[in-house]
């Protein structure tokens, strides 16, 4: 039996950049932390932040990878393209609203999103899920309430996530996914090879069977993957997914052993690939926390415009877990509700570790563009919409300990 592995991001045009970044990371680590060197206070601080973030996030990346592996293996291939086609533009808000059905924090959400995309979820929907998912996670909303003891915070946080995610989804509606996804990712989706990334049909000469009778010794040829092509279709364009089309070839039935083998391979691939970029992000976040911390951010607390901007920047630097960031936000008592919401809405969408992890899937220009778009949308939300919504909630008697 052979297993289908994910395409690597280490190949392709971006590979030199990635290789250079990884080598820089390794070099910096050895220079900053030489074995047997005299221990300094910042060594302790850096290592504490680094290891703490890794230990906290790794389980969730793994859970996300497992969820992605299960989706790839067991979700019917036609389900998501069919739903996306039926719902049309309305599918974007629906995706955002049902994102708690695939609960993941920001570390694990990318793995789940990849799994959904490989099952044919169109890119605008995938990005919508990516943005809304971590905040719409029930645990995150609960801890937000826990931190503030005020129902307005989780409500306004969830509304903010929905607003940004749905708006970004709409913006992406008519964009060509090939311009957004890394070439390698686009290629694997376009080929419909389930990410196998190679044309493994019949260009090799060993003796394996391609019929339904194959047992352990045959390749796991995936089902006809019209859905993977669907992920690359522009939803706004004439979507040509014919979900009623006859299946080209029957999907070979997997034995339990094969299923477990494929699942373990998928999960490990997902995890290892994202973990490398995740570690790079954590390294930078730990360095920022060690040497910058939140120094000086309180100085702008009184500014209407600068306070939310500063808090978004802080969220980007601190790279906190969405489940914990509300407690940190609550410690900034000198900041106003809009500024604290900016921190809690923007942080799970985009921080240093996510910036690096997004490089597994997206082109660099898109990562920067979407970061800018999200920052503008969050700013608009907290400055223009939050005061109105807050007034409404207060009028309804929703406030401190109201839940």
């Amino acid at each position: 039996m052979a297993v289908d592995h994910l395409p690597s991001t280490s190949a392709g045009p971006g590979s030199y950049v990635n290789r250079a970044l990884f080598l820089l990371l390794i070099g910096l680590t050895v220079v900053l932390f030489p074995p047997l060197a005299e221990r300094k206070p910042w060594h302790d601080s850096f290592a504490t932040y680094f290891i703490a973030i890794v230990l906290e996030a790794v389980p969730y990346i793994l859970i996300g990878s497992l969820l992605a592996g299960l989706i790839e293996l067991f979700m019917p291939s036609t389900l998501l393209p069919k739903l996306a086609k039926r719902l049309g533009l309305f599918g974007i808000p629906v995706t955002a609203l049902v994102s708690p059905a695939f609960p993941a924090c920001e570390c694990g959400v990318l793995a789940v999103a990849r799994g959904l995309m490989r099952k044919g979820l169109p890119l605008p929907h995938t990005v919508t899920y990516l943005i809304a998912g971590p905040i719409m996670n029930p645990t995150v909303l609960f801890t937000t309430w826990l931190a503030f003891q005020d129902a307005r915070y989780p409500i306004l946080r969830a509304v903010g996530a929905l607003f940004v995610a749905i708006t970004v989804g709409f913006i992406l509606w008519r964009m060509d996914p090939r311009r957004i996804l890394l070439p390698k990712v686009s290629e694997s989706l376009a080929k419909g090879d389930d990410g196998h990334g190679h044309d493994h049909h019949h260009d090799h000469d060993h003796d394996h069977k391609h019929d339904d009778t194959c047992a352990d010794d045959c390749h796991d040829h995936p089902a006809p993957l019209i859905n993977l092509g669907a992920a690359l279709k522009k939803p706004g364009a004439a979507v040509v997914i014919d979900v009623t089309a006859p299946v080209v070839a029957a999907k070979p039935r997997r034995s339990f052993r094969q299923t477990m083998g494929q699942l373990s391979a998928n999960v490990i691939d997902h995890f290892l690939e994202m973990a490398a970029f995740f570690l790079m992000g954590v390294f930078i976040a730990a360095a920022m926390k060690t040497w910058l911390g939140s120094t000086g951010f309180s100085d702008v607390a009184a500014s209407v415009i600068l306070a939310p901007l500063a808090m978004m920047l802080l969220a980007f630097i601190l790279s906190l877990c969405a489940e914990a960031d509300a407690f940190v936000a609550a410690s900034f008592s000198e900041f106003s509700l809009p500024a604290l919401l900016a921190f809690m809405v923007f942080g799970p969408m985009f921080d240093i570790k996510l910036l690096l992890m997004y490089r597994v899937v997206f082109r660099s220009w898109f990562i920067l563009a979407i970061a800018g778009a999200m920052a503008v949308l969050v700013l608009f939300y907290v400055l223009a919409l939050v005061p109105l919504l807050d007034a409404g909630l207060t009028a309804m008697g929703i406030g401190r300990a109201a839940l």
């Binding site: 280490s10 190679h198 790079m280 940190v328 008592s333």
Partner: protein, 298 residues
């Protein structure tokens, strides 16, 4: 499994296993996260094992006729080194914790989120003289009986002072009630308690640092402080909680030393004010096994 992928997996397993078996993980993540980590480690180990056993016989990479790539060999091994960084860092430095280097503001007792944490929802920091609706029971532990084995009421931090490395020691004061440092901001939870024992690290601000403190704060109280970090999820979100230590000269004490303090507890007069301890006894101890306090997640 190809060699690079195998080494990456083993690197992660080794890192997680060393921390779990050695107990070091407790210094980095909150108690409620620990079972998640243990479960995830078991899951990952199981998957690696299955992958190695099931996919071993027909390894995708055993045959060389495929034109697909998983990145070239150099990239794979460069990434492998990245995967080994957490293990390298841990083996190089061992278990670490946060010290005074990360403290930005020592003039406030603690972040509001800590002082208003869920477990203390019914006991917000209030003036010590505020009458309570319940009659105040007699002090629970103020007799001259031998000092009880110290047990923290809350949080996983063991109070048991690790007596080794004692460099400064005063006569022990009997009858002190062991309290985690954070509890000193919740007097209503501990009615009648005045003599306490608590653990923390020393903060000895420089005169330059003290001069930067806003004038409305009594700077005379800030010469010697006791602090301890409180985490919610992990050490990355930890924030320090301070109390003022009075009646004790800095002398030969050093910044960031771990100490057990016994003395008279003077609760904070109001929200945002510092609690104080009139020090009777100060003992330098080793770092506790779990250096962080935790805010309960309910």
């Amino acid at each position: 499994m190809n060699p690079a992928r195998l080494v990456q997996s083993i690197g992660w397993m080794a890192f997680l296993a060393v921390l779990l078996v050695g107990g070091g993980y407790a210094s980095y993540i909150a108690a409620w996260q620990q079972w998640v980590l243990i479960t995830a480690t078991a899951l990952f180990g199981g998957l690696v094992l299955i992958d190695a056993l099931v996919n071993r016989a027909h390894d995708h990479h055993d045959h060389d006729h495929h034109d697909h790539d998983h990145g070239n060999s150099t990239d794979q091994w460069v990434q492998t080194l990245v995967h080994l960084l957490p293990l390298y860092l841990f083996l190089t430095l061992g278990v670490t914790t946060l010290g005074s280097q990360q403290i930005v503001d020592f003039s406030k007792p603690a972040p509001m989120s800590v002082l208003t944490s869920r477990h203390a929802a019914d006991d917000k920091p209030v003036a010590a003289s505020t009458p309570t609706s319940k009659p105040t029971p007699a002090p629970v532990n103020t007799t001259n009986a031998p000092t009880p084995a110290p047990v923290l009421i809350d949080g996983p931090t063991p109070v048991e002072p690790t007596a080794a490395l004692t460099t400064v020691k005063d006569p022990a004061i009997p009858g002190a009630v062991p309290l985690p440092l954070m509890e000193l901001y919740f007097p209503k939870k501990h009615p009648g308690v005045t003599r306490i024992e608590t653990i923390g690290r020393l903060m000895i601000p420089t005169q330059e640092e003290i001069d930067k403190v806003p004038p409305e704060i009594d700077r005379a109280d800030l010469k010697l402080l006791l602090y301890r970090y409180v985490m919610t999820c992990c050490a990355a979100d930890a924030a320090p909680v301070f109390v003022v230590l009075r009646g004790r000269d800095v002398g030969e004490l050093k910044v960031d030393e771990w100490v057990t303090i016994t003395g008279t507890w003077v609760p904070a007069p109001g929200m945002g004010d510092m609690a104080k301890i009139d020090v009777d006894s100060l003992t330098v101890i080793e770092q506790p096994a779990e250096p962080f306090l935790q805010t309960p997640k309910e």
